[in-house]
């Protein structure tokens, strides 16, 4: 079942002006329910413009978007209901915090949904726990927290709306390795435990390789590739040509291949690399023994 279906979507900035630019150019694709899709692409390739369509922040210049089978812009008065279905975490979301306490800030989304006080309380506590925020932190001011904690509060603010689709634009940008790992694994946990669809925009091929099942590659406002993570990273030369990269492990395997070692290069995670190497070793030893 399609969670998000995009048909012929185009988005033009400042249409009719001399500086009009097409950010998204006649894009069509489907994202299935429960998928974890990574979105990669060079800077200015239209990634952010594309994902802000998923919850109706941007209105398509032309084309249609269906969320869960429903045409998003059929009635523009109902657009708000889609904002609760599709939770969008913007880049550097910590700059959106405004309330006196962490608790109130996380409650902002659920409150806008018109939920009961009891339900809001449950969601805030769950979302905070999900994002690894200590309950003691809930009553402190969000401005007293560290950068990583602020980021987690902001993400919790979106998760508390319990969206069916969670879209994150570079949620780990500017964090230390530990912070990165923490946030992304929590996103993964949310994906697994709630069965929701997750769309993750990232510049880190390692993160994409580690968490995403499918990868969507944007280039000049168009979808250049959309396939399983393995198949996309198997097209390393094309990715490199686009100014993108492949995970470090893949690079090692490409180098090995270049050195004349007959090995598969569709490796993109460490565990899979170990498996492939062991299999290669076994095959080689088996070969010499025979």
């Amino acid at each position: 079942m399609d969670m998000i279906r995009v048909e012929d979507l185009s988005y033009v900035y400042a249409p009719g002006m001399p500086n009009a630019t097409t950010a998204v150019d006649k894009v069509s694709f489907c994202i299935e329910k429960g998928d974890f899709v990574g979105v990669i692409g060079p800077t200015g390739s239209g990634k952010s413009s594309l994902i802000t369509h998923f919850n109706g922040i941007n209105k398509p210049t032309s084309g249609r978007i269906y969320i869960d089978g429903e045409d998003m812009w059929a009635d523009s008065k109902k657009i708000r209901s889609f904002r609760f279905k599709v939770g969008l975490v913007f880049q550097y979301p910590e700059y959106q915090l405004f309330e006196e306490t962490v608790y109130k800030d996380i409650a902002f989304g659920p409150k806008n949904m018109g939920l009961s006080a009891h339900e809001i309380d449950r969601r805030v506590k769950e979302a905070a726990a999900f994002c690894g925020l200590d309950e003691a932190l809930l009553q402190s001011s969000p401005f007293e927290l560290s950068g990583g904690q602020k980021r987690r509060v902001a993400i919790a603010g979106v998760i508390a709306m319990e969206p069916k689709v969670l879209v994150l634009d570079e949620p780990a940008a500017g964090l230390d390795p530990e912070g990165r790992e923490m946030i992304l694994s929590q996103v993964k946990k949310y994906h697994k435990e709630t069965g929701s669809t997750v769309i993750l925009v990232s510049h880190s091929m390692e993160d994409i390789a580690k968490y995403a099942d499918k990868v969507l590659v944007m280039k000049d406002g168009k979808v250049a590739m959309y396939d399983t993570t393995q198949k996309v990273f198997d097209r390393a030369p094309e990715l490199l040509e686009m100014g993108l990269s492949v995970p470090q492990v893949t690079k090692i395997f490409l180098k090995l291949k270049e050195m004349g070692i007959d090995i598969d290069t569709d490796v993109y995670t460490i565990p899979y690399a170990v498996k492939t190497l062991l299999a290669y070793k076994a095959a080689k030893e088996g070969g010499t023994n025979a």
Partner: protein, 269 residues
């Protein structure tokens, strides 16, 4: 909605209007504003608007942009027009119960509306065709005599440069924060006035915080590059007047003077 704000926007170009020395442009704009008040007759104001229109055409700024910049002041124009229509005394042309519309009222309303339109389009032309840097450089240069009276002219100009420079940045920032709050279900453009004002709190607080953060960072960056105010500071780009500047200035001055003389014309209305 924020994209409609065109005040302070700059449209780079290569036209004679763009190339004119910014100091002369500022002086001419001031003169134009004065003319708008001196020539308080229909012919004069229409001529002034025509003059500005020609300059817009020379600067190749699309009509759409001008109309867009006029859109936000439409309520003010209407308000002044209505006030004038109903409250200026004179020969009545229309009476209904307590409402009386006079001939003078109509003429005044038209004059006032044209004047406001002229003020906005004239001053917008200056900012459209002059980069903020050139503009503040010129202001600094023009105000230099005041420095002798211990006015912090350079500092004022620097403050203006920074303020102008940060208008687009802050607009962009506001847009981002608004989107982030909308993504959390905030309703920013519907509801009663009270609702809308309270809905702005989640936008204004992060905006102020980020403005202060930016100010701090900028101050730090300026100090790192040894900025210490105006005393003994030289500039990379020296403003120089060319023959073409004098010609343009003279032509514009002549036109503006001519417009002033429309006052002598017999009153048509």
């Amino acid at each position: 909605m924020l994209k409609d704000i065109t005040i302070g926007q700059h449209f780079p170009g290569n036209s004679p209007v763009h190339k004119l020395d910014p100091r002369i442009k500022i002086l001419l704009t001031v003169a134009f504003v004065i003319v708008l008040f001196v020539a308080s007759n229909l012919v004069g104001l229409l001529c002034s608007l025509l003059f500005i229109g020609v300059l817009y055409a020379v600067a190749k700024i699309p009509l759409k942009t001008i109309l867009k910049s006029l859109k936000p002041i439409l309520p003010i124009v209407l308000f002044t027009a209505i006030l004038n229509i109903f409250f200026v005394g004179g020969t009545p042309v229309f009476t209904w119960r307590f409402i009386t519309i006079t001939k003078e009222g109509i003429v005044y309303a038209v004059i006032m509306s044209l004047r406001i339109v002229g003020l906005i389009s004239g001053t917008s032309l200056l900012t459209y065709t002059t980069s903020p840097i050139a503009l503040t450089d010129a202001i600094e240069r023009l105000l230099k005599p005041l420095a002798k009276m211990h006015m912090p002219v350079h500092e004022l100009a620097m403050m203006m440069t920074i303020a102008l420079r940060f208008i687009p940045t802050l607009i962009e920032e506001t847009d981002k924060i608004m989107n982030a709050q909308k993504a959390r279900g905030a309703e920013l453009d519907s509801g009663s006035i009270k609702d809308r004002i309270t809905a702005l709190v989640p936008v204004l607080i992060p905006l102020f915080i980020s403005a202060f953060r930016r100010a701090d960072e900028l101050a730090m960056a300026m100090e790192c590059r040894c900025y210490r105010g105006g005393e003994g500071r030289t500039r990379l780009k020296q403003l120089k007047l060319h023959a073409s500047d004098f010609v343009s200035a003279l032509v514009c001055a002549a036109v503006l003077t001519a417009i002033c003389f429309t006052k002598m014309l017999p009153v048509i209305f």
